[in-house]
Symmetry: C2
Amino acid sequence: MAAKRTHYHHGDLRAGLVEATRQLVEDKGADRFSVADACRAAGVSTAAPYRHFEDRDEMLLAVCSEGMERFHDMMVEAQSGHTPGTLEAINALGRAYVKFATSEPGVFRLCFGIAREHHDNTEMIERGMRNYGILLSQVAAYFGKDQVDEQVLDRAFPLWTMVHGLSFLLIDEKMKTLNLDHDVDALLRDNTRRLLAE
Amino acid sequence: MAAKRTHYHHGDLRAGLVEATRQLVEDKGADRFSVADACRAAGVSTAAPYRHFEDRDEMLLAVCSEGMERFHDMMVEAQSGHTPGTLEAINALGRAYVKFATSEPGVFRLCFGIAREHHDNTEMIERGMRNYGILLSQVAAYFGKDQVDEQVLDRAFPLWTMVHGLSFLLIDEKMKTLNLDHDVDALLRDNTRRLLAE
DNA sequence: TGTTGAATGTTAGATGCGCTAACATGTGTT
DNA sequence: AACACATGTTAGCGCATCTAACATTCAACA
């Protein structure tokens, strides 16, 4: 990865650093990530990132932002094949959520767990709303409503908590270490149904 | 806190450092915690901790371990006033779970999110099993069984995921930033019922 | 009670990281 | 061609983790 550059200028160092950072976050976790490592991966000096980012946190924020975008795309993609408001559509969202978490645990943890200092970042909040909005729309449609009201909010939120919790338990390998054997898809299906019932 | 000691020896430096570490983890997060800060708080030199801990990680592990103990105690305490196997007993466990997370978010995050390197630690796994076992027993009793079988496992796990997810969404302030207004107790009650129904 | 080894503290220093200041190089505009 | 600006480098400060060598205290035993 430490590609020797032929030019003095990198070309697109910002993007290169974000990708290196993402990789490192995935490999060693956001807390273990170091700017210096990212520099080595991108093949630049350790001072270079500061032309593009305020500080280490902002590099992580960029990875976070990019991740939320992918997260969004995955959910949009997941629901695309289903009739809006059906259990299948909602289940597909749940599976996409879990899939993102398990395929990019480092980034997922970064977006939610760590980096509290960025949780009040305007862009992050907007991306979060946009993502949650996808579920809200589906749940609204499920209840035959054309907009999100109190009831929709009350019934959608538990779905989020369950899927979110499941994601964390999966990536923290609680099921593995505690020897729990559950079929994730079945779990999502059964309990989404239960949470929406009655 | 940086109490000047009168003796050359501290008395119980290990405990002092664990407490200082816990405090710092709560204040700045496990990733922002520094051994040097803990030393200043405990009033010893920066080399002192290494007589008691292998490295920085082991200090965090100690906090983790201690936290799991408190977590356990809180859940045992919470269920104590209820008839085993009732919805009230199970709800009480859920409330205790969320209460621990929200009152010690730093430690909670440390126990679950961060510190993956310790998730395969034997002691941690045992403590985790013990804690989950409390819920499993209640759910077994709820279904009128005297031991944990497949059905109990299948019905208890979703409860964990929901409560776990709720805890994370609360401490990451997603409800605040996304302007979601939910009564946590009602949420736990309603959805525990739904997840156990049918 | 005095000696002595183990436990637990200190200081000094090696190594590495985040970040800044001063300087170098390339790029695009007029 | 000349200049301003963007983007790279090197050198260095301050702080962090951790180790090695040394100091002090405690506790066990003669």
